[in-house]
């Protein structure tokens, strides 16, 4: 099977007062061309760190300690020289974030920000870049695109800003779009528009999408496969429809019940406790203190990832013993 992106044994830690804190541990995954892979998990589970380490986007100032392998079309990207990375970031990998204000510059016009990558990466002249910018704004369904070019980010609504950011990410026709919580800050009616836009563009442009979200509903509606992360590790992976109907891992199961807002007699199903911070992760399975099915052996070692169904893998030693009642 051809793979666009292959990540193996990825570990990312951040140096802190208590030594290097592991944000992502031993993560493996791959994305095929044209596929949507979702990474889902609660805050602090390492989703953004995992995605950011891919095109070498992790800020150097936090001095991350990164090991493992990240291959884009077979080419190793970890430890790639900055100059080479910068050249590839635009054309091959586009990124959009939760908060457009972090990547849109408030002092430059929308037009200038879309045209810049078109000129530096694609070598278009000013007129061609502007024409392409208008096309891109039309593609992301921004109304009155010609007028928008002269506007500033603060002139636009949250949904419009998110569309402009998508237009910039798409400027150089990337083969992979990394979308880190692209709709978390938006209202549901606008979220639905933006998700539909991303899915539509993906199909028409044949681009792969790595979608990071904490919302299993978003996963169901947009992704082909899903990775569930907990406390820096992958705990389950597989086809979306399979994972969200027959989860193997007790954490996925709990997350699913919480997301479905399942309840009885006015009470919702809870997962007790909280996600442990990196410096307080228990030995063995990190979910053990919150898990209703835990046994003594769960504390002994980090459970290995193994197959639990068609295309499905999970890191739980009790995964095959059937679903809890």
């Amino acid at each position: 099977m051809t793979s666009l992106l292959t990540v193996k044994s990825l570990c990312v830690g951040f140096p802190g007062k208590r030594g290097v804190l592991p944000a992502v541990e031993d993560l493996d995954f791959h994305i095929a061309p044209g596929e949507t892979l979702a990474i889902v998990g609660e805050s602090g589970s390492g989703k953004s760190t995992a995605a950011l380490s891919i095109p070498g986007l992790l800020s150097r100032s936090s001095r991350p300690v990164v090991s493992g392998s990240v291959r884009f079309e077979g080419q190793e990207m970890l430890n790639m020289p900055d100059r080479k990375l910068a050249r590839m970031r635009g054309p091959d990998v586009g990124m959009i974030f939760q908060d457009p204000s972090t990547s849109l510059n408030p002092v430059f016009t929308i037009g200038r920000q879309i045209c810049e990558p078109l000129r530096t990466h694609m070598g278009l002249d000013a007129r061609a870049a502007e024409a392409r910018a208008i096309e891109l704004l039309e593609l992301v369904k921004v109304s009155a695109p010609e007028q928008r070019l002269a506007q500033y980010p603060h002139n636009l609504s949250g949904g419009m800003r998110q569309r402009v950011m998508i237009a910039i990410a798409l400027a150089c026709s990337p083969r992979l779009l990394i979308a880190d919580e692209p709709t978390t800050a938006l209202d549901v009616t606008v979220q639905a528009q933006v998700l539909r836009l991303i899915s539509g563009l993906q199909k028409s442009l044949g681009m792969a999408v790595l979608l990071i979200t904490h919302d299993l509903g978003v996963v169901w509606e947009t992704a082909d496969r899903v990775i569930v992360m907990y406390a820096g590790r992958k705990v389950e992976e597989g086809p979306v429809r399979r994972i969200l109907s027959q989860p193997s891992h007790p954490y996925t199961e709990g997350l699913l019940r919480a997301a479905r807002k399942e309840g009885r007699d006015g009470f919702l199903t809870e997962i007790p406790g909280v996600v442990p911070p990196p410096h307080q992760r228990p030995p063995g399975c990190a979910f053990e203190p919150r898990c209703a099915r835990a046994i003594a052996a769960c504390r002994a070692a980090v459970p290995a990832i193994r197959s639990t169904g068609p295309g499905q893998v999970a890191a739980c030693i009790r995964a095959e013993e059937g679903q809890p009642a």
Partner: protein, 335 residues
């Protein structure tokens, strides 16, 4: 008897638009509500529709431009002048971001104990004991009294603000998006805590959220807002029967849903919410409504009773007829 009655509440904010010109933000534009003791009324709507402005007027943290709020039959503006302490004992508020509403340099015990001290509810010697009891009621160990807010997780801080509100035995707690900033597994914990406290103490909630699926579990009544007005309201049975107002329907359909069949066509709203400075003519929703007819553009619909709830739409009867006719008839007994 009614615990809270909100009558034609209006909150307009004058804002400057530069060059000496000014405008008015119609944040809340004529809202009526009623809450009975021990009941939960959920207010649902997207950001900017006026939920927080309404909440602050109800909780006595802001003054309405016009209209009236009555607490147990007494005008709240009068009560706030004559006996502000009594008002604060009746109505408390819990915010989305508990961190912004507490002093980070004070211990949890002092934060929770404030109300007890101000309202002289328990003798000083028993205050620590009562704080411990409150902590326990919200599911926190007694030793949290000595900690500082930054040592707590988001969910724990929200438990502290609930304990602080509960300290004065209020009749009503206004909860403004209390779980929106929390992870989904922790959301359920806090929601369940609120339900348990209601069953034990009979406290009523005005519960504000943008998540219809979430409020479905705790609401006895629900009101959906758009641009400062209620567009549909009624008791919780409408969650099962289905909403009639096109906006309420869109809000419900737009939320991503696990298990939605592939290929199910969901009609999405176009564009963004218009500015509350110059809301559209006629029906405020007509610029985005999939059901708009000419009448909607010129004539503002009233909030009026249709099929056992209140709906602000000229086409409510047609929406009802279209809603799976046999079930609708069974549910409402209409012919």
């Amino acid at each position: 008897m009614t615990l809270l009655k909100v009558h034609k509440l209006v909150r307009h904010f004058p804002v400057s638009r530069g060059f000496g010109s000014s405008a008015i933000v119609r944040a809340v534009d004529g809202v009526d509500l009623e809450i009975a003791p021990g009941e939960t009324l959920a207010i649902v709507g997207e950001s900017g529709c006026g939920k927080s402005s309404l909440a602050r007027c109800v909780a006595g943290l802001d003054t309405a431009t016009s209209g009236k709020v009555e607490v147990e039959g007494t005008d709240s503006a009068d009560m706030l002048t004559a006996d502000p302490m009594r008002f604060r004992r009746s109505i408390q508020m819990v915010f989305q971001d508990p961190y912004s509403s507490v002093n980070p340099r004070r211990r949890i015990g002092e934060i929770i104990g404030d109300g007890l001290r101000l309202h002289k509810l328990v003798p000083r010697a028993q205050r620590a004991e009562r704080v411990r009891e409150l902590l326990e009621q919200v599911g926190l160990a007694a030793d949290y009294a000595d900690r500082y807010p930054h040592e707590l997780s988001g969910g724990q801080r929200q438990r502290v603000s609930i304990a602080r509100a509960l300290a004065v035995n209020p009749r009503l707690i206004v909860c403004d998006e209390p779980v929106s900033a929390l992870d989904v597994s922790v959301q359920a914990q806090v929601m369940n805590l609120l339900v348990r406290l209601q069953r034990d103490h009979g406290v009523a909630y005005l519960f504000i959220s943008h998540d219809l699926a979430l409020v479905r579990h705790i609401a006895h009544k629900v009101a959906v807002m758009y641009l400062g007005q209620v567009v549909e309201s009624g008791d919780a049975a409408i969650f099962d029967q289905g909403f009639l107002h096109p906006y309420a329907q869109s809000l419900f359909d737009a939320a991503p849903r696990i298990g939605r069949p592939e290929g199910e066509e969901v009609e999405l709203l176009e564009g963004d919410v218009p500015s509350p400075i110059s809301p559209p003519s006629g029906c405020r929703f007509h610029t985005r409504c999939p059901q708009t007819i000419d009448r909607c553009k010129v004539e503002a619909p009233d909030l009026r009773p249709v099929a056992g709830r209140d709906v602000r739409c000229h086409r409510a009867e047609e929406m009802l007829a279209r809603m799976m006719p046999p079930q609708a008839e069974a549910a409402f007994g209409t012919g």
